[in-house]
């Protein structure tokens, strides 16, 4: 047997750890019996514990959502604050967009090319995407092919 430490806090810790180990390893039936002996309603405990865990999950998701919205707001504000020299007409912008997609293959996965026709992109979509590319300084080397 190891030497007993005169440290009272350690002594209490060992007892509580021993009891904790019994909680961890007890059978389901035993735990439910113990609850009944203490006249605790196991259904109520279940509802309470699940409620706490679900509430924690919802709070986390809400924080994530707020952070995503804030990120989006910052991105759009940054885009609005910077002036980009984009072509003036919708048609010219669409041509630049198509040229960018063709010449910058690393962008293709981001636009789910396999599943989506670019003709489905609205003029606004095209402009937003071009602004994002300009913000990342991706458009400087893109050449629109001569017709």
């Amino acid at each position: 047997m190891p030497d007993k430490s005169p440290n009272e806090a350690d002594r209490l810790a060992r007892i509580i750890d021993g009891l904790g180990e019994q909680i961890r390893t007890a059978s389901d039936e035993e735990l439910l019996d113990a609850a009944r002996e203490e006249r605790r309603d196991v259904g109520e405990t279940s509802a309470r514990v699940k409620g706490i865990l679900k509430h924690a999950l919802r709070s986390h998701q809400q924080v994530q959502l707020i952070a995503a919205r804030e990120g989006y707001r910052r991105d759009t504000a940054a885009m609005a604050a910077r002036s980009f020299e984009l072509p003036e007409t919708n048609e010219e912008r669409r041509k630049l967009f198509m040229a960018a997609i063709t010449q910058l293959p690393q962008l293709q996965p981001a636009f789910t090319m396999q599943n989506r026709e670019f003709k489905d992109f609205s003029d606004d979509d095209i402009e937003v995407q071009l602004r994002k590319m300009a913000l990342l300084d991706l458009l400087s080397g893109v050449k629109v092919p001569e017709e």
Partner: protein, 223 residues
């Protein structure tokens, strides 16, 4: 003979559960899982005592789940560890982290009991509040004195609780023997073997200890 150097393939990174998987795991917890989680959370709060700084077992459960979602702790469902078992591990490490924080920050107002309990008298007789000491970041005499005060209070709390538990079981020899074995860091099978009792007898005794110890601790910390 020297062969070609073998390239060690890096082990694939385990996949952390998504929030949707965690939600499904919460929904599918059975009554016994919930009972186990709650009792274990209570046990951990009792284990860290005043380092819980007023936080209860429900807050520990809440924080444990948040820490699973945000890291650094994760649940890897493909590794064969069930969600309740993983969450109990987090309850344990998180409560230990709370206790560690208190140990590293003895002068923090968060852990101050009554200010008067922790106030100390300087050499010149002036009474110094722990909050005054917190303002000075360097380790100094006052901080060391607060740390010593905290440790004395922790030992005194523990002694009062252990004495109360032992007194409560003074007429219950089997329970006293099991408590002494736990104090000797013996695990369940070792205790059964040392006391020559069956697992059922052992579980019945620990249930009794569990129930009464919980009451003693709740009464102590509710003071």
């Amino acid at each position: 003979m020297k062969g070609k150097p073998r390239l060690e393939r890096a082990a694939p990174q385990p996949r952390a559960a998504s929030p949707e998987e965690i939600l499904r795991a919460i929904v599918s917890l059975c009554d016994a899982d919930n009972e186990r989680l709650e009792q274990y959370a209570i046990n951990r709060i009792h284990r860290i005592g005043r380092a819980a700084a007023g936080r209860n077992h429900q807050e520990l459960l809440h924080e444990a789940l948040v820490s699973l979602l945000e890291g650094p702790r994760h649940w890897f469902p493909d590794n064969g560890v069930s969600f309740p078992v993983c969450l109990m591990g987090v309850l344990r490490s998180l409560s230990s982290a709370w206790a560690g924080h208190r140990k590293r920050n003895p002068g923090s107002p968060r852990y101050a009991g009554l200010e008067s309990e922790l106030s100390i008298r300087k050499d010149e007789g002036r009474l110094v509040s722990p909050f005054e000491v917190v303002r000075n970041e360097s380790f100094n005499y006052e901080e060391a004195a607060i740390e010593a005060e905290n440790e004395n209070a922790r030992q005194a709390d523990a002694k009062a609780i252990v004495d109360a538990i032992m007194a409560d079981f003074a007429d219950d020899e089997p329970a006293t023997l099991v408590l002494l074995c736990m104090d000797d860091e013996m695990d369940g099978p070792a205790i059964q073997s040392a006391l020559n009792i069956t697992e059922t007898q052992f579980r019945t005794i620990t249930r009794r200890i569990q129930r009464r110890t919980k009451k003693i601790m709740e009464a102590f910390y509710a003071r």
